[in-house]
């Protein structure tokens, strides 16, 4: 019963963590806008969220038989690192650059603003979820 209350919260928490990772990725791209040879990265957000919440169909999970084995699914840090790595793609350059830098500042700024709004939306979902649960507990 209780997990019904927290299931939505878990999903939003995973989404929030992925949003903050994407925010950092875009910040890295903006920071390296003048670095020669830097290749811009972008995250496949839908796929990463599916893998983080365990709803992916084709996500490979390592089988573990001993306590010391590094698993791919249950262990939070390893799994999140793996999925973050696997879902990183290289952004296709829209214009060529003499120093082989592929950061498109217009696109990065747009992605950054988009990600900011969606991060705040997820935060509001979490807050309203907490408020709903609290009002249900207090019964007022």
């Amino acid at each position: 019963m209780l997990n019904r209350l927290t299931d939505t919260l878990d999903f939003q928490a995973q989404a929030l963590s992925l949003r903050s990772e994407r925010q950092r990725l875009i910040a890295s791209n903006i920071a390296n806008a003048d670095t020669p040879g830097y290749v811009a990265r972008e995250m496949n957000f839908a796929q990463a969220l599916k893998e983080a919440t365990g709803t992916a169909s084709g996500a490979a999970v390592l089988k573990t038989s001993q306590a010391g084995h590094i698993g791919g699914g249950a262990d939070g840090t390893v799994a999140s690192n793996r999925s973050a790595e696997a879902n990183l793609a290289y952004a296709a350059p829209s214009q060529t650059n003499l120093d082989r830098n592929t950061v498109d500042m217009d696109r990065e700024r747009a992605s950054f603003a988009d990600n900011t709004v969606k991060y705040e939306a997820t935060l509001r979902f979490i807050n309203s979820n907490v408020r709903t649960t609290l009002s249900a507990i207090t019964g007022q």
Binding site: S20, A31, N32, A33, T35, F112
Partner: protein, 137 residues
């Protein structure tokens, strides 16, 4: 907290851009110098940026910037015929620095825009973090 690393990433970029701005300033200041302390005319300097991973265990999503080297432009300086100048050579020519003022101004505006971009990223990250801290209230 992956959001905390944004300050490292954007902070390193802002610091690198301010170093570039510093180099531009010294180039512009020396645009008309004739001879430096070593008796040679001033040579324009240029910074080179390099990606530097600032996150834990070489995380590719936290890529900051550092200034890897500062190189000197080796092209010949501007030569002006002025036999009355105290630094003129035997043929009456004075060698000025090889700074191209237009190039430096473009460089300056580019550095200042990149600096502003990174500061804005930090401001946005800060306001998001403040909202995250108030979660559930």
């Amino acid at each position: 907290m992956s959001m905390m690393n944004i300050f490292n990433v954007s902070g390193s970029a802002a610091s690198a851009q301010s170093q570039r701005l510093n180099v531009v300033a010294s180039n512009l200041a020396n645009a008309d110098t004739v001879a430096g302390p070593d008796g040679q005319a001033y040579k324009a300097r240029q910074v080179t940026f390099q990606t530097q991973l600032v996150g834990a265990q070489n995380d590719p999503t936290a890529a900051g910037v550092k200034v890897s080297s500062i190189s000197e432009d080796q092209t010949a300086g501007r030569r002006v015929h002025d036999p009355k100048h105290p630094s003129a050579d035997a043929d009456g020519y004075v060698t000025y620095s090889n700074v191209n003022a237009v190039e430096e101004m473009v460089n300056m505006i580019s550095a200042s825009r990149s600096y502003q971009n990174n500061i804005e990223v930090m401001n946005t990250a800060k306001s998001l973090l403040m909202k995250t801290l108030q979660m559930g209230q």
